[in-house]
Amino acid sequence: MKRVQFSHPLMPYMLLLPQLSIVGVFFLWPAAEAIRVSFYLEDPFGFGSTFVGLDNFKDVISASEYSRTAWFTLIFSSAVTFFSLSIALLLAVKADKVIKGASIHRTLLMWVYAIAPPVAGLLGVMLFDQHIGPLNDLAHALGWNMQIGVNYFDTAFAMTVIAVWKQIPINFIFFLSGLQSVPKSVQEAAAVDCRSSLRRFWTVTFPLLAPTSFFLLIINITYALFDTFGIIDLVLKGEPGNNPVTLVYKVFLDGFRGNDLGGSSAQSVILMMLVFALTVVQFRMIERRVHYS
């Protein structure tokens, strides 16, 4: 391999500086600040603060609602990740086989991607609205007495559907391009050896899609944990009540709605640790099984 030589020893650091300063200012500094604040109880206006050690963490963990929020986050994130990936994969496999009018099919399937997330969320909220929503009417026609905002499960269901719907197009685009990069020769060779197209898919095509799938898995878990914030906010219309919220949304509720900086920071530190653990697991355990050509 050719070694790149810089004319000046400081040059590489200078080139790295913009990136590093962005990471420092927008990630490391706020993270350090969150860790500091999590040990204090602070007056919102910043007049007084009391060092309380681990009390904020104890209060967070012992609150009856925290475990319910954590469970909801786990189930919601798993469901959103699983359904948005699997539906997108199914659509991509089917769209890949379409020959006539292929571009129309693909464009229509990517369509939703062009909608800005808040607009998509708002559309979803209106479709499920308990007074005017057509999906709500449909559920009632089918004998399901759906009431978003009143029934915990119904609200969770609507959030999940909206979040999945919003995420399918981006997964679809990646899966489709992944499928199209599977070499024709490999597919033909496989067709000679094995007649079952389903088995061919799982033994030949899917492993070749693994790098794409792994990338999408990480993107989707991140999406389900963090980027669904806007959708949850829209479904709740600003008032949590007895509705499901995720851990990230709870950080916002306690910090920005309730002005409890210490408690909110403690929750975000817990989340930081969870994300760190998740990252380690993803790259240590799953990526080993992924083969990049």
């Binding site: 109880l41 602070e42 007056d43 919102p44 206006f45 910043g46 007049f47 007084g48 603060s49 009391t50 309380v52 209060d59 609150a63 009856s64 609602e65 308990q130 007074h131 009431q147 978003i148 905002g149 009143v150 029934n151 915990y152 219309k237 600003g238 008032e239 949590p240 009540g241 007895n242 509705n243 509720l253 306690d254 920005f256 709605r257 309730g258 002005n259 409890d260 210490g262 408690g263």
Partner: protein, 435 residues
């Protein structure tokens, strides 16, 4: 165009004539949370104020919901960029009044500016809600409302019943309304209407330390009592029997069903009056918030809800004087009467109330007077107001637990037990923040 020019010429003439006037008017800004029609009225009032004098120029800025406006004000204060006036809602009052260095009390501000101030000029229900333990007015009450009962006159006539004064009467008429094809009752704010004002309507203590006014230290909530548990037990049984409708925690979801005629009676804000007039096509009227005759013989006055204006500290005297000047303008009888008519919020001064009465407004629209009459009902020791920290979160806990009662997930006893525990924990945490 000619009008603009004419106005410009007069202003210029005024400036030239007053030798001491500086050429630029003192700029003051006002962060508020009044959206929709209310925001328009805020802008109209500001325009009127700016046109009324040329020393100060007021700029109102809409900052989103009440919670968002408070958070924006706090963030701005920490960055040294605070507005002159911040509108803070009832549930946030402990937060802002507790931060003594962040605000200039309204009473001091007015007195420093040489404006006469007499707290007795303000109507009784409004006077002390945003005051400190000694009775000094800290926040200038602005949009003040109180929960009242609206009823669809056609629905009540169809069922052959009168609007209830007490919950006992409601119990008697609700089945008739149901038989006439209506959901008898809905409400829009469980913590405000069925908790805080349940306490005030029955003169029950809501928190220790004089409802929290004597300081955050050691304040404990007294919400876990038999009277309110009885109330929620009844409400849950009405819900199960189809005599009460619950459409979630959102305000609008519960108001909408009254507007479209599904629900015959609705507990909302006296400030909802203006909006309802425009959005309903049936005759409606209003009466007092019902009370349990078994708990309180006559029922006492309710708390105000809504928000107050707080002058933020760290501003030059000239700007503070402008804020004081604006406060006097805002509380003048004419402006209060205008605000009252446009929005349905109560007039906050006796003078404005008298003006509305003399003008015959209440003869024309009797329902518009219900809120202010309810606020001036005879009160008791516990009906002045309440002051609790982290109260937004306390309300969130209440709303969550009430949701669980209504869904059948939790018994009334368990839910109130949880509310008491979690609220006291939050209150204790809040007391520590200001150490």
């Amino acid at each position: 165009m000619t009008l603009c020019k004419a106005a410009g010429v007069t202003t210029f003439a005024a400036l030239v004539m007053s030798s001491t006037a500086s050429f630029a008017a003192t700029e003051i800004n006002w962060w508020h949370a009044m959206g929709g029609r209310l925001g328009e009225v805020v802008n109209e009032i500001s325009t009127k104020y700016n046109a009324s004098q040329d020393v100060c120029n007021l700029t109102p800025v809409y900052k989103g919901t009440y919670e968002e406006a408070l958070t924006a004000g706090i963030a701005a204060f920490r960055a040294g960029e605070q507005p002159n006036i911040l509108q803070v809602f009832d549930a946030g009052s402990a937060t802002i009044i507790g931060a003594e260095g962040a605000i200039v009390p309204a009473e001091d501000l007015l007195k420093n500016a040489g404006v006469e101030f007499n707290i007795e000029d303000y109507i009784a229900g409004v006077r002390y809600f945003y005051a400190d333990a000694a009775g000094k007015m800290i926040g200038m009450p602005f949009n003040s409302s109180t929960p009242i009962l609206y009823y669809n006159e056609e629905a009540l006539a169809k069922a052959g019943v009168e609007a209830p004064e007490t919950w006992e009467e409601f119990k008697a008429i609700a089945p008739k309304l149901k038989a006439a094809g209506y959901v008898p009752l809905a409400q829009s704010h469980l913590s405000w209407i069925f908790t805080e004002n349940f306490m005030s309507r029955h003169n029950l203590p809501f928190a220790t330390n004089n409802n929290g006014y004597d300081g955050a230290k050691g304040t404990r909530i007294l919400v876990n009592n038999d009277a309110i548990k009885m109330h929620f037990t009844r409400v849950k049984s009405w819900l199960d029997a189809g005599l009460f409708g619950y459409y979630g925690i959102g305000w609008a979801d519960n108001q909408k069903v009254f507007q479209d005629g599904t629900v015959a009676m609705w507990l909302g804000s006296s400030g909802s009056f203006g909006g309802l007039t425009k959005s309903t096509d049936f005759k409606f009227s209003a009466t007092y918030l019902p009370y349990w005759a078994s708990v309180s013989e006559t029922g006492t006055n309710t708390f105000i809800g809504g928000a107050a204006l707080f002058a933020m500290s760290g501003k030059p005297k000239a700007e503070n004087d402008c804020v004081a000047n604006f406060y006097s303008f805002l509380t003048s009888a004419d402006i209060q009467y205008y605000w009252h008519q446009e929005t349905g919020y109560v007039p906050i001064t006796n003078a404005a109330y008298d003006l509305a009465t003399k003008d015959g407004y209440y003869d024309r629209v009797p329902a518009a007077e219900i809120g202010i009459k309810q606020l001036t009902l005879p009160g008791g020791d516990n009906t002045k107001g309440y002051r609790m920290g982290f109260y937004v979160q306390v309300r969130d806990v209440m709303n969550r637990e009430y949701g669980k009662i209504f869904s059948g997930e939790k018994s009334v006893d368990d839910a109130f037990q949880t509310i008491e525990e979690e609220a006291n924990k939050l209150l204790a945490r809040f007391a520590k923040t200001s150490d």
